[in-house]
Subunit: 493 residues, 3 copies
């Protein structure tokens, strides 16, 4: 293998049966070159504004990639061995980036069967032209070749942005963000290509140690101190309008549960005051956070921001990792979620409102057929986001289609949404999604349940049209008007 | 596509791999023409007695079909836009049925990948001979052709009953039903072809606003007022015997949970009296309903009626839809169910009794391998019903077989059971089930785990024999005597 | 079929698509003849020490096999009809073993699609050279042929042990076991081939009727009465060291939940004293058992025993069966398990410790992708055991790989672990596992996601290397040193 040049097979991740593969190939051919719509990213807008370079291979591929670091940690490395900076403790962080890269390359076999393997192959081969498989023997040569590329203008972020054919990319921004980077991007003519997303989790969970500082920062951004729950709501609304003005399409909410029960204003105020002055118990914090989801939906009806919700993760499962490395360092473990009962208050209030759009994500696959598809197949406001996090994988995406489509169809889903911090992996992820959807659609064609024309149209919608329309700000941009939608809009008057 | 005549492929929904397809085709050939056994229907017996015509295409295909209306609602239509009559509110109901049909045809793409698409294709092409795919362009022509057919005697219900080769069809009947339609059908010689099913949910949940009226009606049917819990039990028993006399095979129970904990008689009486005189809280109502499942099982041991249970649906998730259109209008959303603990009281009391038969349905697929297959693979009274509701779909049925068979085998399942209000879809649903089972069995043959002869025999059992024997009233009709059964029966003396 | 000799197809259980089958065949060829590593068995060590014969066909194949008896019971037989000895009640146990065999053979069709069918075909055809399929017609002839074989030296346990190529087999032993059989086996030179496993469930659940006797026996083995919680911990630790000295690799824990919350010593002492003197409620017992898992992990860090946990079974679901036949007689029904929250205390304390190894099993498949793969893909101490119990089946094993690999990879799993009481089924189970893994890996090769060389290496690891290394006692035997491991070990100094 190492002797032959390492070229990715053009049919990778397509079905193996020759008849199916042939159909899938035709479908994929119609989506492979479509622009990328990336509505849920975690790229720093400043990096794009400055047109940053990506540093060395460890800085690009390993240190910031949770998926990759996590796997090596699961086999005995410490985060610090891989260059992840500890917040406290005496573990010396590894500073030899070539050694970090070598540790990865030597352990290439650990990634067999994982999406990380697929993405890395795509990045190394397609993006960087590497012709050798990573291994102990090839680690240094690959490192050198990558380093050489990374020092050229062709591998700065804007050049890759163009080469990847990214039409629009959303960033993730705290409510107190001044949005200055986005304003600067707009001045540079990039305002339509890079848009902010309003992510208020930091001020929704009053039991987090960072909550008071986050509320203070929110108030400071609005030019006043926040001393009441109503003042808090006012500040959020004000910032949401600022985000809308800066081009935002959506808000984003990562919660422990799907609870959306509104609180009486007095109860919300009581918890808010308690949190301002001291500790809040977890149950009160969870109740407050659920109330804030309800309030966020209410605000979305007003300002048209699409609401994204991805609940069900017990963050920082390992106290030692959290203490050593800070929050969200690879030890976030999913839990079961009750969407049916959790979302009922919110959907009862806003679920039928044509001004509202809710996009749901999960890592608990048990809700796909039991809860999410029935909910999205009934409430006109709801769309199902793409398979999230660990499920953004070949089999994970195939299961999503299989478990959701029969009840919700294709058109109650959002199309593909990547959720990555790893810029260079964006085209790999979209490419994989297009291949998996082509395989799923090929099966429907092969079973004579769809024509090839229908399958091709659907594939294009999933890859391109649906993400654009699902994330179109309600009332602002009109989603591609279908007869159904036109009816609904006029019916809602 | 529109230019060519629209003919369904004979191999639709069979496996795509040529070797597998060839085996599946052989298996399917042995079941395709078998009579239909439809033990869980929702057709009005009066419609059969009167030999009704079906009205216009919107009245046959759209307005009464929850699956279909729900999908259009999920994309922005209101129920009333599709001819569904609101109970209250000012939404004017659409009365132009041609327009309703057009709304459906224009949105044909929404149904891609859904069972509704498969069923509709079958109904339009096979049952009605339509040669065009629905679309905005073809809507009117198809409407006219369907209307012309529907006005002929060949498309009245009894002619279709014969043409569909329905051997037996169960209806669903309230406990206070006078069963007059069934008596009239019996007079017409249709008593063996159309049988009632005893469905007492309406009197089991004392927190429903309709509960007191339902109990009053039950008493009235028995010629006395029901003033006590014991009187309630007596009335139920009396009506069950009336149902048995009218040919009933089974009872049917749709509950929120699988709880079957019996109450002390005094506790049941207390809740019953409270409900007669005023409101009952949800916890008491759920306890009462669970107790009534236990009591129903006890009665089944006596009268031999097969007990069907399908729990796990939060009905009327949207208060606005319930208030506007009444109960069960497309916004029933499933929840997780604990069968293992819920059924334990009932199974401890009756689960080993050869006079008892319990058929379990679920929309919570997580229990297939974890709970249902182990329960059915141990308790001789239990059979697993076919995939229910949203799961009555190609992939849903395939997952059922895959998740259940290895632990419970084929012979602890009920064979195919449709659950439809849409009469014209009955043959489509049975046909699809036979194709999916043929595909599943073909794989076992292809993997050399079954011979083709065994697979064919199994397919026939799943399509025809098992539904007949699973729904044979215990003690009345003897299920096809197997050595095991004969042993068990004599052992139970 | 009955006319032709009954020969198993060499490609059974491999993928059906010709291209996939061809790749799978190549991969399987590299694992088919590997030695068997059986780290979780339930064979009596005395039977091996004495080199027992297996009795008659009913005694070998039917009476002790829960899977098989259970299926016949689910269709109406009583346990006693199949030779299972009732503990009480008046059901006469069937003593005619030829008749018992005939009952099984006549009901061969019930096992279609089940792993029991696959294993039995393998045992009858490959191990015993039977050339007829079981049926009413062939039952007696097969019985006679099996009986004849079973009376020869070639079918005694040690001859089969050699013929099956079992390299190492773990037994399951109570903490009060004197380990005399293992000592005798060591004297015979079999000490490395048959090792004990420490299974303390009997003394961990103080609400079991057998608990006091089990604690008494544990004390007696240590030569003293256990009168305090600390004395109890001391005795456990003492016995664990005795097991280590006898060659044990692991402990084994079957619990109702995954709760691992430690108790304050005073609380544990209080429950312990209460249990010594009288009944303990279920909640206290569960709290005590959870505490003991935590304590067991702590002890594992000291003595290096690998900790196995398989939670989530409601044992003895049927009171009648438990009363009639004793515990664990086929009516153990799984329930949902929360591993994420349950394991958090244990993993926070020991999950990052390189001296600790935890292998997790489940019958609740919903946790594969949601909880187990993320946990094993992060904590270096955790490996995922093979699909357990009902899931030790073709589709069950395929789902495990599909749902786990993308997040945890192959190398955070334990490789294949059988869990059988049926000695003759051991090679059938390992063979099936190797075929299923070959099929899974063939798909990755077919999708151009792995090379054939990588797939073959992975298959060998799953079948042979990983079970050996996953069950290597920590600190004692060094697992095959990977660079990652070496780093981790030195980093942990």
């Amino acid at each position: 293998m190492a002797e032959q040049p390492w070229v990715l097979h053009p049919d990778r991740a397509l079905p193996t049966e020759p008849g199916q593969r042939s159909i899938a190939r035709e479908i994929y051919a119609s989506t492979a070159a479509l622009p990328i719509v990336s509505m849920h990213g975690h790229i720093e807008p400043g990096a794009i504004r400055r047109n940053d370079a990506f540093g060395d291979p460890a800085e690009l591929f390993i240190i910031p990639d949770h998926y990759l670091v996590r796997m090596l940690v699961s086999q005995g490395y410490r985060n610090s061995d891989l260059g992840v900076q500890p917040h406290q403790g005496d573990a010396p962080v590894e500073t030899d980036h070539r050694l970090i890269w070598r540790r990865f390359a030597e352990n290439w076999k650990l990634f067999r069967g994982t999406p990380t393997r697929y993405w890395m192959e795509h990045e190394l081969s397609v993006v960087f032209g590497i012709t050798q498989e990573p291994s102990a023997a090839t680690a240094d040569a690959i490192y050198d070749q990558l380093s050489a590329s990374l020092s050229t203008p062709e591998f700065r972020i804007r050049a890759l942005f163009d080469r990847f054919n990214i039409e629009i990319l959303s960033t993730t921004d705290a409510p107190d963000s001044d949005l200055a980077e986005h304003a600067a991007l707009a001045d540079q003519g990039w305002g339509e290509r890079v848009v902010p997303t309003f992510r208020p989790d930091g001020v929704f969970y009053p039991d987090r140690v960072t909550w008071r500082a986050a509320v203070r920062a929110l108030g400071a951004r609005c030019g006043r101190e926040i001393v009441s729950y109503q003042g808090f709501l006012d500040a959020l609304q004000e910032r949401r309008f600022a985000f809308v003005a800066a081009g935002a399409r959506a808000t984003d909410h990562g919660h422990l549960t799907a609870n959306t029960t509104p609180l009486a204003a007095a109860d919300a105020e009581r918890i808010f005051q308690q949190a301002l002055s001291g500790p809040v118990d977890a149950a009160s914090a969870e109740a407050f956070a659920g109330n804030m989801l309800f309030e966020s939906a209410r605000m979305s009806v007003e300002d048209g921001l699409v609401m994204q919700l991805h609940p069900g993760v017990a963050r920082d499962h390992s106290a030692a990792i959290q203490q050593g490395y800070g929050a969200d360092n690879g030890f976030d473990i999913p839990v079961a979620v009750d969407f049916t009962r959790g979302l009922q208050p919110l959907l009862n209030a806003f679920g039928l409102d044509p001004r509202f759009r809710l996009i749901l994500f999960t890592i608990d696959e048990t809700v796909y057929s039991r809860e999410l598809a029935p909910i999205a197949g009934a409430y006109p406001s709801v769309r199902l986001g793409a398979p999230w996090w660990f499920l953004d994988s070949p089999a994970g995406m195939a299961r999503f289609r299989e478990l959701v489509t029969e009840t919700a169809g294709f058109y109650n889903t959002s199309g593909f949404v990547d959720d990555t911090r790893a810029f260079a992996s964006i085209p790999a992820r979209h490419d994989l999604s297009r291949r998996v959807d082509a395989g799923y659609l090929a099966r429907l064609v092969g079973e004579h349940r769809l024509t090839l024309d229908e399958a091709t149209e659907t594939a294009i919608d999933l890859a391109y049209t649906l993400p654009l329309t699902a994330y179109a700000r309600r009332g602002a941009v009109t989603p591609a008007a279908t007869p159904a939608r036109a009816e609904a809009e006029s019916a809602a008057q």
